[in-house]
């Protein structure tokens, strides 16, 4: 006879083993007992989600896991969105973990590449966030989730704080499918400010030895913005935002998009665009958006996570941000990614390499940075069924054949790059490094961030290439070469063809847009320093020490 309750009984056995390490009343376990707790609850070969988000890190539990006895805890299959802390990879060196499915590995990108070459990690795949979350509910459901929150009560009711991020998704997938959920918190309290995760979904609460780490990933110092970035931002605002009337959008984290944010209240205002563009956002609380918010440009923002130093400002602006009854930000990566995928008319962001067709990647031969959310944001969702003016206009531009009555719209996916990146490395290449990496470590699928067929525009300091208007592969290649500046790719252009594309408006130079490059001056920025941002916020923004110069 079939046993329909085997997994449930296995969970109960794990919980019984873990309860030996409780510290008195409720679900609380002391930080010193965290290793014992994990060794009691984990089984060899378990699928484990160790919460490493884009920003928030369950670092106390990560340290505990890496300190477990590899004789008892081994061959784990780690499923987590971020590989951020050294401990996230240490466990693969000791044999505690063996397989990995993940999404983003910014700071550990070089080490993960070495370990992949060395065979210490069996890689499943590098996902986008939403894709990995989806698999939590399909074929990568965790047996155990190790998560992080700001505080909890003794029953396990959890307040995640402004950086809710991935937590609800991870808990949903684990708890409701016979998994065990262990939360680390900075503090045990009698009553949480708000319940982000109900206590009956949390099995153990570890009182962490120190507050969890949050990476300030989304702060760009206006003081470091260059005139080239300002010129590119002016072209994007006039040639794309205004042209298509983009109101619902997501920005990447580069300096180019930060420059756009700082030009809205100055250059954007001068063009009369207030209220007509950039009103609804799927975006982390970027400090560089403060001047636009304060100038009345922004109607609302939903956030993937929070940003260090922005909490007081967000609390004081509940009409703009999603906040709880306690007043603090409620972020949610899964919902915000969904908003970015289906409800934004444009994604605009940077990349490290673009090839002749417009494929792009942030992978280089020595670094596997992963994708994060860019491939979600930067893709045209074929499941979309609601019209909007920008979406329909892009659809018309891109339609070559077929019945106009059956035309569907297009999401704008814009790559905003300087022709030469950091250390004068060319952004435009004949062949992506990602292909060489895939060959070297035997990946079935090359780690391409945004595929060419999703990209609609490329903006550089030389101009805008509108790929929607290209009618064949040759036009597309020449349009890309035509904005690739003095890179090898740019110098390899066919001048006559590029001029023909310019005559058709496929390529537009600054002067075609009525922009004088000499006007691209830092005095156009609404804020030229982090301190200016503090002033704009009325003293509510509290930048971390590494961004201050006072």
């Amino acid at each position: 006879m079939a046993d329909w309750r085997g997994d449930r009984q296995a969970r109960d056995a794990r919980l019984d083993a873990g309860r030996a390490h409780l510290a008195g009343r409720g679900k609380v376990v002391a930080a010193q007992a965290a290793v014992d707790l994990l060794e009691a609850v984990l089984r060899p070969g378990d699928r484990v989600c160790l919460e490493g988000d884009n920003q928030k890190q369950a670092d106390c539990l990560a340290r505990a896991l890496s300190a477990c006895d590899p004789g008892r805890v081994h061959d784990l299959h780690m499923v987590q969105s971020g590989i951020v802390l050294p401990e996230h990879l240490d466990v693969f060196e000791t044999g505690i973990a063996r397989r990995l499915d993940y999404s983003y590995s910014g700071p550990q990108g070089a080490r993960i590449a070495r370990m992949l070459y060395g065979g210490q990690i069996q890689l499943g795949a590098v996902h986008t966030y939403l894709e990995l979350f989806a698999r939590y509910f399909m074929d990568l459901t965790p047996n155990v989730a190790l998560i992080a929150g700001v505080c909890a009560d003794r029953d396990g009711n959890l307040y995640t704080g402004p950086n809710t991020e991935d937590t609800p998704t991870v808990v949903e997938a684990t708890h409701f499918k016979n998994g065990v959920v262990i939360a680390q918190v900075n503090e045990i309290v009698d009553r949480v400010p708000r319940v982000d995760i109900p206590g009956d979904r949390i099995d153990f609460v570890v009182a962490a030895d120190k507050p969890f780490y949050v990476e300030p990933l989304f702060t760009r110092d206006p003081g470091a913005m260059t005139e080239t970035q300002i010129l590119i931002a002016m072209m994007a605002i006039k040639g794309i935002y205004a042209e298509y009337g983009i109101r619902r959008l997501n920005h990447g984290i580069g300096f180019g998009t930060a420059a756009i944010e700082l030009l809205l209240p100055t250059y954007g205002e001068r063009l009369g665009l207030k209220g007509k563009i950039a009103t609804h956002w799927a975006l982390n609380p970027h400090p560089t958006l403060i001047p636009a918010i304060e100038s009345g440009w922004v109607e609302q923002i939903h956030c993937f996570g929070s940003e260090v130093g922005m909490d007081r400002y967000i609390r004081a602006r509940p009409d703009i941000f999603f906040t709880g009854s306690d007043g603090s930000l409620r972020s949610n990566r899964a919902f915000c990614q969904t908003a970015g995928l289906y409800a934004c008319d444009m994604f605009i962001g940077a990349t490290l390499q673009i090839d002749l067709m417009g494929h792009s990647s942030t992978v280089t031969q020595s670094r596997v940075a992963g994708f994060g959310g860019a491939p979600n944001m930067g893709s045209d969702p074929h499941g979309r069924r609601h019209p909007s003016d920008p979406w329909m206009k892009a659809g018309r531009e891109g339609q070559v054949v077929g019945d106009p009555a059956l035309m569907r719209g297009r999401k704008l996916v814009v790559q905003l790059v300087e022709t030469f990146g950091d250390k004068l490395v060319p952004t435009f290449v004949e062949r992506l490094d990602a292909l060489e990496l895939a060959r070297k470590i035997g990946l079935e699928l090359a780690p391409v961030m945004i595929y060419a067929d999703d990209v609609t525009h490329i903006v550089t300091e030389e101009g805008i290439a509108n790929l929607l208007l290209c009618r064949d592969a040759d036009e597309r290649e020449q349009a890309i070469r035509g904005v690739a500046g003095y890179t090898e790719v740019g110098r390899g252009r066919d001048r006559a063809k590029v001029e023909a594309l310019r005559a058709r408006g496929v390529i537009r130079r600054p002067e075609d847009l009525g922009i004088e490059p000499l006007d691209a001056d830092r005095s156009l920025l609404a804020a030229r320093s982090i301190k200016d941002l503090v002033h704009w916020s009325g003293g509510l923004y509290e930048p971390p020490a590494r961004f201050r110069n006072w």
């Binding site: 830092r522 005095s523 030229r528 320093s529 503090v534 020490a545 961004f547 201050r548 110069n549 006072w550």
Partner: protein, 303 residues
């Protein structure tokens, strides 16, 4: 087009914009301008780009109608660093001051110190500049340093600043010899974390220098504020004699005795009598000036 001195940020402005806006409108005449192409003979060896003015603008002009000589470093060319030509232009300007006898020489510092690619020439230029400043001051011409650029006044620039008659500094300006990264490399991040920029500014920034008497005026970040400060400081330049030098030695000895055991600038400020030291970094220029007025030792005649 008239320049709006109040609106022009000193920190953001180029060397040429600073000079043009600082002096009486239209009064500046450059010596050895970029059209003469006096460029570094060394940088081509390293395949590095050169600047037509080698990163420094020197010339004469008027401040409130009075004749002044002026030198302005361009922090955006190689961090305003001293190379051979760059140094020679500054030394030549100072030597000319002994003949011309202007109301003052103004040095607009914006430098990380000596240019590594021409280190010997740069080091020599630092020494020659300090000697030339001593001679100019001995002749009765005040030398005023204005510090508020991105690169600050570091390395030899910090040494030269120490020989000036008077210094004006803004919040963004920094004065020191070893830079934050150098200290961290030699002494460790525990001693000095160069990534903690709030710490860097507490230790080397304009407010700390002003509170401890290292600088003699504090300016808001506008050209008009530096112009006001320069005018006031020319009138307050101390004599260049044995008494001044002895007073400076005594001041520095006292400073070491009084604050030598402090672990952070905020402790120094507290001992100086600042009520709420943690509030100092966020103060605007007016509030900060009031704080300085309540502190002993910020104003002195030593140098």
């Amino acid at each position: 087009m008239a320049i709006d001195r109040d609106a022009l940020s000193w920190y953001e402005a180029s060397a040429r914009q600073r000079v043009d806006a600082l002096l009486d409108t239209g009064s500046f005449a450059e010596f050895l301008g970029p059209e003469e192409r006096r460029m570094s003979p060394h940088l081509p060896l390293f395949d590095l780009p050169r600047a037509f003015d080698d990163g420094v603008v020197v010339g004469r002009g008027r401040l409130d109608g009075r004749p002044v000589l002026v030198a302005a470093q361009e922090g955006r060319f190689m961090g305003g660093a001293f190379g051979e030509v760059h140094g020679a232009k500054l030394v030549g300007l100072l030597r000319a001051a002994r003949e011309i006898k202007p109301a003052a020489v103004l040095i607009l510092f914006d430098t990380g110190g000596v240019r590594l690619q021409e280190a010997n020439a740069g080091e020599t230029a630092i020494a020659e500049t300090m000697r030339a400043i001593a001679e100019v001051r001995a002749d009765g011409v005040p030398v005023i340093g204005l510090i508020g650029g991105r690169a600050g006044a570091y390395g030899g620039g910090g040494l030269i600043a120490g020989t000036c008659s008077r210094l004006a500094v803004s919040e963004g300006g920094r004065i020191s010899v070893s830079g934050p990264e150098v200290i961290e490399t030699n002494k460790g991040a525990e001693e000095f974390d160069s990534r903690d920029r709030a710490l860097v500014w507490r230790t080397m920034g304009g407010k700390h220098r002003r509170l401890t008497g290292g600088a003699d005026a504090f300016c808001a970040d506008s050209v008009s504020a530096f112009r006001e400060a320069a005018r006031a400081l020319i009138g307050r330049a101390p004599a260049f004699d044995l008494a001044t030098l002895e007073a400076e030695h005594a001041r520095l000895r006292n400073r070491l005795e009084e604050f030598g055991d402090c672990r952070d600038a905020t402790e120094v400020w507290a001992r100086l009598g600042v009520n709420d030291p943690d509030a100092v970094p966020a103060m605007d220029a007016r509030a900060f000036d009031e704080t300085v007025a309540g502190v002993g030792g910020a104003n002195h005649d030593a140098r």
